[in-house]
Symmetry: C2
Subunit: 717 residues, 2 copies
């Protein structure tokens, strides 16, 4: 048995401050050609304001770019915090060893030619890892673009993006598994006013991984938001734990995951040979934790702006204020599409709005204050915004903005309004960035996010709302201990094997999962029956771990209503079993009650990356045609189980809809939670569980597993 806490073990976060802000850097494989990989860092570390020392290392040179060049790391005079390595791959493991001997704690290996190029490279990478472990050197890379600290002007890497003068610092950290793409994003974001204090290209992640970096940056005082460009992570459980930590700290992780479609996944494998869990598990992790999933540069920029204001809404009730009716209609549509509600404003607010708007303004929600009648250059438009922000029915506000020369004066007044409230206000500008760029910049400096595209304004607000909701949920329930029963010892065979139906059900029943009443009889016992072992109607199946797919093997008979039929069924399926697989070990004939209800399916897969995960969906077409399935990570309790049930598209079939009664959602939630406990407690042994079908009966009448299958991994020696 696995104690549940090892599934989410806390990992000690290494102190990376000297990696990010080294006192001195040795450039191993320094080149006098400053356009080459070994030459670029010399320019980057000397021309962009880095205040530490730079030591080129190359036995071929005495001096490069006015810097003394040393033959090897041992010869470097001062203590270095980082060795930047640009040698060809075969030389790298020896350099790591030298780092250890020279007391250099971090290396950044830019060199390619490791695990991404096949078997030979893989062996080299193993040597690199071994050297690092042996000499206690932490490694970024290999096959990476380096480490960027724009706060302290450390440009420790190579590539065109690092040479841009336009990069700007800011309270965001980028962790990217694709250096070329991720660093490019940092450059583009700078153009849109979004600065990054740090950016790290993790390359092949021989040692330090994207997760290590995310974990470190979450704890940094100068990082409010972490952006992670990910192709895949090896430790899904740690990703989940980081999501919880992000909620705890109130710092979002903007997760940009790629390789999600089959075509994309294949491209990712050919890119970095990174194998990874299915996207649905990432989505489940992102949905649960402090992640905001993004999928383009725009939503990175937009979300970063929204979070930078450091105001989280208390709910999703949104006030929309405009100066033109069309914009109000549009914003209302977008809000509803993103799950934001437009509440009715309180009567007091309506009355107040009447006072501060012209007669033909519309004081509902959206408010259309109209652009007319602002002879005061829109100073009184701030009274409109004030009134809506103060409304007790409103958690957050989107306001369209006056344009032209009036904007600057109005903006100053707006800051006064914002001082009176902690609710988020996002502004949607009716004009292009060049029209009121200075006013926008002024407002953004003062924590008021500004957007030009209306839809993007709403999307950013929805990101804020979603994060805030997860944070609230985490605070009320994520911190408390899991509400669950104790682990149960199961009697499992030692070898990798498939358990028969009856035995599988016994394991589930031990955890309180309701299963069909049933009797396991020898064929002769069936023949000798003088009455039914359970009330008719009955189902009869062969019990054999060697015949997992019973229906296909013809060893199931359903709806048996008398003793003669029962005996005949016993004979028939025994014969069918022999014919299907003459070598199958037959444990007996399983006689069980006929169950009925709405069919649902619960599956457990012990994912190599994410550990035991539970999939839940309605049976039949819902899973096979509509792929209406939801996932969670084991173990979880009733609250999470209820969420799973409510988030499938067909949830109404369970909760009742026109002409169909409510079913026993509570018993179903209990069963989902209990299955998650089985999966988590025995994660060292259980590879898969398949409960199909699980019948859900009317409210109060419970659920029952009509069939179940457990697949075991072999016992670890």
């Amino acid at each position: 048995m696995v104690p549940p806490d090892t599934l989410t073990a806390t990992v000690t976060i290494p102190d990376l401050s000297r990696l990010l802000n080294p006192r001195a850097v040795a450039v191993v494989g320094a080149s006098s050609d400053l356009s080459r990989i070994g030459g670029q860092p010399l320019r980057l570390l000397t021309e962009y304001g880095y205040r530490g020392k730079v030591y080129p290392v190359n036995p071929k040179h005495r001096e490069i770019k006015g810097l003394t060049c040393y033959p090897d790391l041992a010869a470097v005079p001062a203590p270095c915090d980082v060795a930047l390595v640009a040698l060809s791959a075969p030389h790298v493991p020896a350099v790591i060893e030298q780092c250890g001997k020279a007391g250099i704690p971090f290396t950044i290996v830019l060199s390619a030619g490791f695990s991404e190029v096949g078997a030979g490279g893989k062996a080299l990478q193993e040597q690199l890892i071994a050297a690092a472990r042996r000499h206690n050197v932490r490694v970024i890379g290999p096959n990476c673009l380096g480490v960027l600290n724009l706060r302290d002007n450390v440009r420790n890497g190579f590539g065109g993006t690092l040479q841009l003068g336009t990069l700007r610092p800011g309270p965001i950290a980028m962790v990217t598994q694709s250096g070329g793409f991720g660093f490019g994003v940092v450059a583009v974001a700078a153009y849109y006013g979004i600065g990054f204090n740090y950016a790290v290209s993790t390359g092949n992640e021989a040692d330090l991984t994207a997760l290590d970096l995310i974990g470190y940056f979450l704890e940094c005082d100068d990082v409010e938001t972490v952006v992670a460009f990910l192709e895949g992570v090896a430790d899904g459980r740690r990703l989940i734990a980081l999501g919880e930590r992000a909620l705890e700290l109130g710092k979002p992780i903007l997760a940009w995951k790629v390789g999600n479609t089959e075509v994309g996944r294949q491209a990712a494998i050919s890119h970095t040979a990174r194998l990874t869990a299915g996207y649905e598990l990432y989505r489940a992790a992102f949905r649960a934790g402090g992640f905001v999933e993004i999928d383009d540069i725009d939503d990175l920029v937009d979300a970063a702006k929204a979070f930078h204001a450091r105001r989280l809404p208390r709910g999703n009730r949104t006030g929309v204020i405009t100066l033109s009716g069309g914009a109000g209609v549009l914003l209302a549509d977008r809000c509803v599409e993103r799950g934001l509600t437009l509440p009715q404003l309180a009567p007091d607010t309506g009355a107040r709005l009447r006072e501060v708007t012209v007669a033909f303004a519309s004081v509902g929600n959206p408010v259309d204050a109209t652009a007319h009648g602002y002879n005061d250059q829109f100073a009184s438009y701030n009274d409109v915004i004030r009134a809506v922000l103060a409304d007790p029915n409103v958690d957050q506000v989107i306001a369209r903005v006056p344009r032209g020369s009036a904007a600057a004066v109005w903006a100053r007044g707006l800051l006064e309004v914002l001082r009176e409230t902690d609710k988020p206000l996002l502004l949607n500008w009716p004009s292009s960035p060049d029209d009121n760029g200075e006013v926008m910049a002024f407002l953004e400096q003062h924590g008021v996010p500004c957007y030009v595209a209306p839809g993007r304004t709403v999307r950013a607000l929805a990101a804020l709302t979603g994060f805030a909701e997860k944070k609230r949920r985490y605070e009320t329930r994520g911190k408390r201990a899991l509400q669950r029963a104790e682990a149960i010892k199961l009697d499992l065979p030692a070898s990798a094997s498939t358990l028969s139906e009856h035995r599988s059900k016994q394991c589930l029943a031990a955890y309180g999962v309701p299963v069909t009443r049933e009797a396991l009889l020898a064929p002769a016992e069936v023949e000798a029956l003088t009455g039914p072992p359970l009330p008719f109607p009955l189902a009869v199946k062969i019990e054999s771990s060697d015949i997992p797919h019973k229906t296909e093997a013809g060893v199931v008979r359903l709806g048996i209503r008398d003793l003669a039929s029962l005996k005949q069924a016993g004979r028939e399926i025994a014969a069918a079993a022999r014919e299907h697989n003459p070598d199958a070990r037959i444990a007996g004939v399983l006689v069980q009650e006929m169950a009925s209800g709405l069919e649902v399916i619960v599956g457990v897969v012990n994912d190599p990356y994410f550990g035991p995960t539970i999939a839940f969906g309605l049976g039949g077409i819902f899973t096979e045609v509509l792929h209406d399935i939801t996932h969670r990570f084991a173990p979880f309790d009733l609250d999470t189980a209820r969420e799973m049930i409510m988030e499938i598209k067909g949830a109404k079939l369970l909760t009742g809809y026109r002409g169909s009664p409510a079913l026993d959602v509570e018993a179903l939630a209990q069963t989902l939670a209990r299955l998650s406990w089985v999966a988590a407690d025995h994660a060292d042994r259980i590879a898969e569980i398949d409960v199909n079908p699980l019948f859900v009966r009317a409210a109060g009448e419970g659920v029952v597993a009509a069939d179940a299958l457990i697949v075991l991994k072999g016992e670890r020696r």
Copy 2:
């Protein structure tokens, strides 16, 4: 009966050239305060390069801004093409009359206070319309911001946006039902390099409508793309016809429809009192015709750029070329999500790519040419792009772009590559717009669309692909005559009424829709039966147009297997009918075969805006829980019917999936088409048809309508 062609009658498009480019403009209600609505146009028409004459009209002034001011329109010396009206609403109808007398063909009424403010305003608007009709004056507005012709510097309106110097001409026309918002979009788009030759704010559309303008602009030589910001249109059929014309001309209509959610719709009603059809009908119109649906400024800009290149792909097979693996993975994901495929490249292409890339490049699709090894400053990267564009498996290409100083040289070479092909190429830049802005501008001038955000690049390409596909479909089938049987005369009662089941089915059967075999008997005839009128099992129902909801009324018995039960059922349902509604006229007892198969639902609604529309979906949970319904406009033929069937989410239930056989899709398509003919031929009488359920049987075994209901409008006198 309605001849089918009147449903899509062609509307004569008025010649609006003098409205858009008037030789002279009279400003009625001219104000000496140039910041007021009556004053702004005087500035806009004199300071922005307009070359026509401007005549202020206001009896209170002799001169404004150096222009002679005239007491009334009759006094204006030269012929005017447009009168711009800024008087308060009650004075407007008289001005229209004066326009007629002065021979001014167009008025633009900026004044508010008409139908948007309630009953009094509505009456004024009626007077305005009457005056316009009587005097043959065409009207834009009232309650609008005016007409903008940036090609000829005509800024015929008011508002802050019109005063911007940054607006720029270009081959796009904007038609907007929200002047404030739509004109703002024109200003923002200019910032992103997108110019508009024309923009018209249609206001209350008392006379000329958004559809008139769209129709006119489609035919203009200096308009390649029409953008329409719509809250709703009165003539849905004309919208559909415009969509077909757009396909014919190869000019997209970028449709930005708002008021689509219930909250948005309510906001739209309070904005312009515009009532309109449900969004699902707009979506059906947009999907069928030459529309590209957009929902934010970004996709307007992105699509406009893509279409401006004037290259339409022959299919959706997309080659992706990158210089970094991560970008390739990302672009592959986005392509797949948007319905674009990434084909395997032809063997010749692979061989060619091996020749022109470095050894560790990846020559699959996506191609990762890697940024290394381009010592020629990326000149040879063009060989990579050339090879993929030439691949016979590829219809279109997205390429990432080299950054930095190399980009300019490379870009010039790229134009050579493009001369060799007519396939679309969209570029995704890895850097911010300020980094290589000049190169981007150079390329866009030469018809190569450039994007910074990868996801937006793919979305723009998908818009192009979708339009091209619809155009191809239109060319192969849209132009040919509808493949259908002749109209059938139906014997319908003259009054508004609901037809009973049997009578409804007779109407459908006349059109070849298969219905259950059934016999309508008097209660006494049922009692007198000596054998079943049809083979058992049978269904028995009350036939009464006064009891449309039979199951709820308890007047249905199913699965009857013998004569005694049949007679008893007849008695029971007759009694139940009397109890349910003592006044119901009972036409008899309907005895019908029991039908079975997969349940689908077909509904016809004769929409007040779009005319007869057909809705199709799977029954039960698919419609009630999953809202899996698709719509088309009647009449249509088999091709369209097949499309409807294939586009519902549950289509696999019809076409067959794991363990479930293929059903008679062909017979279902026949039935959908025939129902559309009934609806179209009798659109003057039929308000609704409900076929629920229609059973679909196994392939080759047809379909059968088990229940049907037709609701009639009264005959027009």
